[in-house]
């Protein structure tokens, strides 16, 4: 193995017949954190959705290898069970499904996939309580319906709790800074930083540099009009903060 967790090669994808990704190449080694930065409409969220397998996105060319295997051949839930975790830009409210039911079903789905026994209610609650405490998620949130009536910050912390329970290999953070004030952003980012480790890689998708003050990327890629137009180290993000995307947008057109 190359030590590469994720290899994206010449990826083209469209939605409703409109091409959004126009040949993405990106390699993410195991244990590294890469940022993908780009302006609105550059294809950032599309990339996140294509990698996680959302309906409606059609890959027309290219391939994605995850741990050396064809990621695009797997269903959404199989990708999740294989350790791909999408942190949603806007976590979805699901009235009527309690956190306990949702999280237990998810944890047990992943365990079953790996041939492990399911946790019973007691075992699960013990695990969930411990992780919730670690992340400062009030236990009462577990009893409420999934994301329903949560503030922006609560939703993101709840997402972080899910990540902690599912222990993914690849975390894709889709503009996780959306809708957060500075304090909430710092709290979420610290949660993400705690999950950093040699066994875990992250793709931090963002429009703005500010989240990268807290989550320090090993590399930064610039996504404009469906292509990676530049890559570099952290300094690239700081330059972008000053100069914006305008110069790239000229080039891409």
């Amino acid at each position: 193995m190359s030590g590469m967790l994720l290899e994206i090669e010449g990826l083209h994808a469209e939605i409703d017949g409109k091409e959004i990704l126009k040949g993405i190449d990106l390699r993410l080694p195991q244990g590294e954190v890469h940022a993908v930065m780009g302006p609105n409409g550059s294809g950032k969220s599309t990339l996140a959705y294509v990698l996680s397998g959302r309906d409606g996105y059609v890959v027309t060319a290219g391939r994605v290898l995850y741990q050396g295997r064809d990621l695009l051949a797997l269903k959404t839930e199989q990708r999740a069970c294989e350790g791909v975790f999408l942190a949603f830009q806007y976590p979805v409210e699901i009235p009527g499904v309690t956190g306990v039911t949702f999280l237990k079903t998810a944890v047990n789905a992943v365990r079953r996939y790996h041939g492990k026994g399911e946790l019973d209610a007691m075992q699960f609650m013990k695990l969930a309580r411990a992780k919730a405490k670690e992340l400062g998620v009030p236990e009462e949130m577990l009893k409420r319906a999934v994301n329903t009536g949560f503030s922006g910050g609560e939703k993101k912390r709840y997402d972080a709790l899910q990540a902690a329970l599912l222990d993914p290999r690849l975390m894709i953070l889709d503009e996780t800074d959306s809708g957060l004030d500075v304090d909430a952003l710092r709290m979420v980012a610290e949660g993400v930083e705690r999950m950093r480790g040699p066994q875990r890689s992250m793709l931090v998708i963002t429009h703005y540099q500010r989240i990268l003050d807290y989550i320090r990327p090993d590399r930064v890629h610039v996504l404009v009009d469906g292509r990676i137009v530049d890559s570099g180290d952290r300094r690239l993000a700081l330059e972008l903060e000053k100069s914006g995307y305008a110069s790239y947008q000229g080039k891409a057109a």
Partner: protein
């Protein structure tokens, strides 16, 4: 007829001749536009014979094919009488929901058998739910029977009543229940229609609310080949509250109808209705909700919402909201939605490793779960949740196609 002396013979006779004239309703009758009974051959259902069996240690007030066969111990403050022994019952029966031009009410009034009168004394706060089991047994061929109930809550009385309609085989049954709520009385009423899938069942509940009384209804329509429930409510005293929630699951070729008719007569009353319907296969759902706000009913707050989850393109849903408002200072609203499973919610669950059939199942159950929110008794809530889960079990996988 055991209740020969109770229900005034002339009224009974009149009801029968009324039914003979009206016949079963067809779609030409506006109230029955979406549920046409004219093709039903009533003569094919023989009138049920009295059931001699007596249930040992019943946990519910138990009736089989309309005949009383078990009376459980009742909590303090609750009394039960047969209609023929109840002067108060005789004075009221048929008054809260008159026959008028209603064919099914006429049929019931003409033919009901053991009518029961349940009474809760003033000020009694009855904690333990009182259960009524309406059972149908049609193992010796198609039967018909007609059930009748009268519930009187005296001033400031509180009761939780759980009625279950359950059965086997082909039956045709009606149930008419009248509820009178005195000032400040509170009734939690759970009605589970879990009849045989060969059954035709027509139920009606009529509620008259005095001032500051409250009716909290939870209705599950799960069984029956063809079933309809009508809620008739009169908000007759100021400050009265009526809330009605319904969960309906129509699968196979089931036709399930929820019809409500609310009359706001007194000022400052509230009504809240939420009906949720899950439709699969060739299932057919109907919601007709009419609210009349009379001129005297200022400061009325009335809202109704019907939401349907359509899991098959062969299923059908008819929604007919109707607001008639004669007062000027009111808040009234209605809404009706028909939709598929929410794709974003589905993706969210799948992105956490939950496979599509299981995710759909969770979402279907969650859709209906909201109906049970007001049911606070934990064991009752578990029981109702289990009934719904059993009925929708496997739907998540089927809906995958």
């Amino acid at each position: 007829m055991s209740s020969g002396t109770a229900w005034d013979q002339s009224l009974r006779q009149e009801a029968r001749s009324r039914f003979d004239r009206l016949g079963l309703p067809s779609r030409k009758n506006e109230a029955w536009h979406y549920t046409d009974l004219s093709q039903l051959d009533l003569a094919a259902y023989g009138l049920a014979e009295p059931m001699p069996a007596v249930i040992a240690d019943p946990v519910a007030l138990h009736l089989r094919n309309g005949f009383l066969c078990g009376v459980p111990p009742l909590p303090d403050g609750v009394t039960l009488e047969r209609l023929e022994a109840s002067a108060a019952g005789q004075a009221l029966v048929g008054r809260l929901l008159p026959v008028d031009d209603r064919p099914v009410i006429a049929l019931n009034a003409g033919l009901f058998t053991d009518a029961m009168v349940l009474r809760v004394a003033a000020g009694a706060r009855v904690r333990a739910p009182v259960n009524i089991l309406w059972e149908s047994l049609a193992d010796e061929g198609a039967v018909q029977f007609h059930q009748r109930l009268l519930v009187l809550l005296e001033q400031d009385a509180h009761l939780t009543l759980v009625e279950t309609q359950r059965g086997q085989g082909p039956s045709f049954s009606t149930r008419v229940a009248e509820f009178q709520l005195a000032p400040a009385a509170v009734l939690q009423h759970v009605l589970v229609q879990d009849d045989s899938l060969d059954a035709v069942h027509l139920g009606s509940s009529a509620v008259v609310l005095a001032e500051n009384s409250a009716y909290h209804g939870t209705l599950l329509q799960l069984g029956g080949r063809l079933a309809r429930h009508e809620l008739h409510a009169l908000l007759d005293g100021s400050g009265a509250l009526l809330s009605q929630r319904g969960a309906t699951v129509a699968l196979g070729r089931q036709h399930l109808d929820n019809t409500t008719r609310l009359v706001h007569r007194a000022p400052s009353c509230q009504s809240r209705q939420l009906f949720k319907t899950v439709l699969g296969d060739h299932g057919h759902g109907v919601f007709q909700g009419s609210v009349l706000v009379e001129r005297s009913a200022q400061k009325t707050n009335a809202h109704q919402l019907s939401r349907a989850l359509m899991l098959s393109d062969r299923a059908a849903m008819d929604n007919k909201p109707e607001l008639e408002i004669y007062a000027d200072d009111v808040k009234c609203g209605h809404g009706a939605t028909i939709g598929d499973i929410d794709r974003q919610q589905l993706f969210y669950l799948q992105a956490r490793g939950i496979d599509a059939p299981r995710a759909r199942q969770l979402l279907i159950e969650a859709f209906l779960a909201e109906v049970l929110d007001p049911v606070t008794d934990p064991s009752l809530r578990r029981h109702l949740t289990a009934l719904i889960s059993a009925r929708v079990s496997g739907l998540g996988a089927e809906a995958a196609v």
